[in-house]
Subunit: 230 residues, 2 copies
DNA sequence: TAGTGGTCTAGACCACTCA
DNA sequence: GAGTGGTCTAGACCACTAT
């Protein structure tokens, strides 16, 4: 009895052929049935291996058209987006949190568009600072729908809104964006950096089905880098 | 004969239960066999549905431990990283390319570390500008291993190194990082922006097995945003 | 030790799409 | 119309790990 061929080994073999140039860009590769015969496994095993490569952008598959090596592969990079506190702890630093401001204010247009909410509607507006080893790590500028269930009982003095939302709302739909912005005077004071310093900025908006939940801008202290493997 | 249950519909039902709060954070959900019985499908169909949710960070699965809703879900965001020219075309703009400088120089430490190459080794150093509708889009500062096969025949006056590498080298291993940096005087002149303007900066390094290939910094013109759905 | 997810198989039918 | 990938099924065995 042979030990069974795993989909991982089929995938590794496919990668080997891609890297060795046996399967060249633009060319069609053998179909699933043929690879299954050649490698001595079931077609579904080949399917799983190649499906994942296609999802990663390393192959293109079409019914009847077969599987091809793309001429211009679209690489995909995946970032993990943990809770800020856990991110700081993962760096071996001691996380801190300070609420700077909290008020109910009319929702600005940009945030309204991102959440698909009504501009001018009264939203809870928070400004907070996350600290790593007592040094500024990231400023959080957040707008929260006051109709979010359970919001009344939340105390954002001690618990980051980031964490409260993760534990108390149900994800549905969202968008995220990366940009570079210049530090405003207030942000510069919070983050202890020069005014107009370049800040990596992450914008996130979240909805639960039809209901807008929250829009947030995270301004990371100068020098912050977000990294991942390809 | 009933129409078959698809893994997508099982996944949708699981998401519905998560959003409806039927499956709450920290709680264990029914095991695969039970869900399969309940939904009237094969266990492998349930497995595929839940496996993808676990990969997305919405569930945690462990053998014998069962499947749970994580207390602190780690969201994952995936960005597509196309060739710059295709990115510009996808925006409905006309792409342009200008080579600014090309020389062989000793590899700086930062790039050497990123590629795991020897600092000071002679590398090909390119500085180029990508244009969208004749306006500066992105500056490309690239270091290429001169021992990369086929490099002699490449003409970077007319063809972006970005594209040449995609078509002529085989991917193996790489890293990518995002940051915000201030425009140097030279970058400000190229990108037609103020000196010290905040620039979204993407750093990428690529290796093919044991061999370092290229390290590149892309400086996007002010205002550039990178977006994706969650 | 026993329960649960991870995976393989062999066969089947369907959906898309190319010629 | 026919070839290819997409998926479902039923059953099986294995690997991990909680108890």
């Amino acid at each position: 009895m042979r030990s069974p061929i795993t989909w991982q080994s089929v995938q590794a073999e496919a990668l080997r052929r891609l890297r060795a140039g046996l399967w060249t860009p633009g060319a069609r590769i053998p179909d699933e049935a043929e690879l299954a015969r050649e490698l001595g496994c079931a077609r579904s095993t080949v399917n799983r291996a190649l499906r994942e490569l296609a999802a990663a952008g390393l192959l293109e598959r079409r019914r009847k058209g077969g599987t091809r090596v793309p001429l211009t592969p679209v690489r995909k990079a995946t970032f993990e987006i943990p809770i800020i506190r856990l991110d700081i702890e993962a760096r071996g630093q001691c996380p801190g949190y300070r609420l700077i401001r909290q008020a109910t204010e009319p929702l600005p247009k940009a945030e309204a568009r991102a959440m698909r909410a009504d501009p001018g509607a009264p939203f809870l507006h928070l400004l907070a600072l996350h600290l790593a080893d007592d040094r500024p790590f990231c400023a959080e500028d957040r707008w929260i729908n006051p109709e979010t269930p359970g919001l009344d009982g939340a105390d954002f003095e001690t618990l980051s809104a980031n964490e409260w939302l993760v534990g108390n709302t149900l994800f549905s739909d969202g968008a995220i964006g990366f940009a570079a912005t210049a530090a405003t005077p207030e942000l510069a004071a919070l983050l202890d950096c020069a005014p107009d310093a370049p800040l990596l900025t992450i914008t996130r908006s979240t909805r639960a089905g039809p209901r807008p939940i929250t829009a947030v801008r995270l301004f990371y202290a100068p020098g912050h880098r977000l990294e991942t493997r390809l």
